[in-house]
């Protein structure tokens, strides 16, 4: 029995039904513990004050925004190579979740940026590449919505996802090149994770685990919905023929 057995739609529905509530529960526990620990039981940063606490939302969501795209890329590759329908549906299910994470990262970043940098938005390489990532997500979702035939849509969006990944990486480095010419980004691109102290680090880890679990739970749930929607469409088509 190989791992691909689990990708059979019927088996997938079977094993996700018991797993899903547990994943949601674990995600909830991690998020509640991590956020309460982070918000109420860590000291204020000596320079940033209490604004440092937005890190518990900002960093995990930014992380997951990128990982969601990578997950979509892997799922698209599996669909192109092995033609597993569940894989294509999972890629479709992950996209809106990824968009929301990207938006959370952008908004929390802006809220943090206002007191710290004095501005909600700056054309910093990191912020800019996130905005571009957001645009890539939008295009991907729009293409899924626009095409009626599900297999064609899955194929075309997979190709778009692969090409888009290459260009997203290109844009990331192009943006770095572009901003160096404009101004010195040193004060803006503060690398938070390297010089963070353990007091902030452990609750952050719990929050990251919570966001990962939440992502998995949401994608599983949305994939189940997609499978049900497709079954319904098949039933309707059969009823029309009969």
């Amino acid at each position: 029995m190989s791992m691909w057995e689990y990708a059979n739609p019927k088996k997938f529905m079977g094993w996700t039904r018991p797993v899903l509530p547990w994943t949601f529960a674990l995600a909830g526990i991690c998020l509640v513990v991590g956020l309460i620990w982070g918000f109420f039981f860590t000291p204020d940063d000596f320079r940033q004050g209490s604004t440092v606490k937005i890190i518990y939302l900002h960093v995990p969501s930014a992380l997951m925004a990128i990982n969601a795209w990578i997950m979509m890329l892997v799922a698209s590759l599996i669909w192109v190579v092995r033609r597993h329908h569940v894989s294509a549906l999972a890629a479709r299910a992950a996209a809106p979740v990824g968009v929301v994470f990207t938006l959370i990262a952008l908004f929390t970043g802006g809220i943090w940026g206002q007191p710290m940098w004095g501005t909600y938005w700056a054309w910093d390489p990191r912020l800019t590449s996130f905005l571009i990532l957001f645009l890539f997500y939008l295009g991907y979702i729009a293409l899924w919505e626009a095409i009626e035939d599900p297999d064609t849509a899955a194929d075309l969006t997979s190709v778009l996802c692969m090409v888009g990944s290459v260009f997203a990486i290109l844009s990331r480095y192009a943006v770095l090149f572009w901003n160096q010419g404009l101004h010195q980004g040193a004060s803006l691109s503060l690398d938070k994770e390297e010089n963070i102290s353990d007091v902030f680090w452990f609750p952050l880890l719990v929050c990251i685990a919570g966001f990962v679990l939440l992502f998995i739970a949401l994608v599983l749930m949305r994939t189940r919905t997609e499978i049900r929607a497709r079954r319904m469409r098949a039933l309707e088509a059969r009823a029309r023929r009969a």
Binding site: L135, F136, A142, A146, M162, V163, S171, A174, F177, G181
Partner: protein, 218 residues
């Protein structure tokens, strides 16, 4: 391949091909910008590289949906698919034809419009060079986008949504090269990186375009 190229070029130049449309659009965008930001020469010459690049990008975008749509509707795309020429070759030829009918005229029109925006005199050479290197990439990426949306009823808007994010690296390097040229800095790095993007696009995107065309013709 050459026969297909000639056919596309003839179709583009003759009735209703929209050959001059891109150029006219380019001119209008560039003329509108001073109305929007004011006629101060210093400001205009500072933003001129970016305006020229963004305008040429939009002008190239305008004619993208024509690349495959007409051939798809009258069935000649299906004929091309059964011809001995591989789909990758078709994709590349279409991109080349699009570049010759839009990118190349834009490249030569840009210095004239640069004059309108009082572009720094040192930058004209780099403007020409960067557009010459960069617009083929715009055409190739656009051909890929056109192949993605060819089967759709109203694909035009979606096409721009898909293609514009892909244009970001080319735009950054292109405008940066001209800006550096205008300020007397060395633009070779930006030009070479943009050349790399163009070469990479022509090496890889024909395969992706051919794959999407085959899917759409299924």
């Amino acid at each position: 391949m050459i026969a297909l190229l000639w056919r596309d070029l003839r179709l583009a130049i003759r009735a209703g091909g929209g050959f001059g449309l891109g150029l006219a659009f380019f001119l209008i965008v560039v003329v509108l910008v001073p109305f929007g930001v004011g006629p101060e020469t210093a400001l205009l010459s500072r933003i001129a590289p970016g305006i020229l690049w963004v305008a040429s990008l939009l002008a190239a975008l305008l004619s993208l949906d024509r690349i495959f749509a007409l051939d798809y509707e009258d069935g000649s795309l299906a004929l091309l698919a059964t011809s001995p020429l591989p789909m990758e070759g078709v994709a590349m030829t279409k991109a080349l034809a699009h570049w010759i009918t839009t990118g190349l005229p834009l490249t030569f029109a840009a210095p004239v419009l640069g004059f309108l925006l009082s572009l720094a005199p040192e930058a004209y050479f780099y403007l020409l060079l960067s557009l010459l290197i960069g617009t083929p990439a715009l055409s190739m990426i656009g051909t890929f986008g056109a192949a993605l949306t060819v089967g759709l009823r109203r694909g035009g808007l979606l096409l721009s949504l898909l293609v514009l994010p892909l244009y970001v690296p080319t735009l950054i390097f292109g405008a940066e090269a001209v800006r550096r040229g205008a300020e007397g800095l060395d633009p070779t790095g930006a030009l070479m990186l943009m050349g790399g993007i163009t070469a990479g696009c022509f090496a890889l995107l024909p395969f992706a375009t051919a794959a999407t065309l085959r899917i759409n013709l299924r």
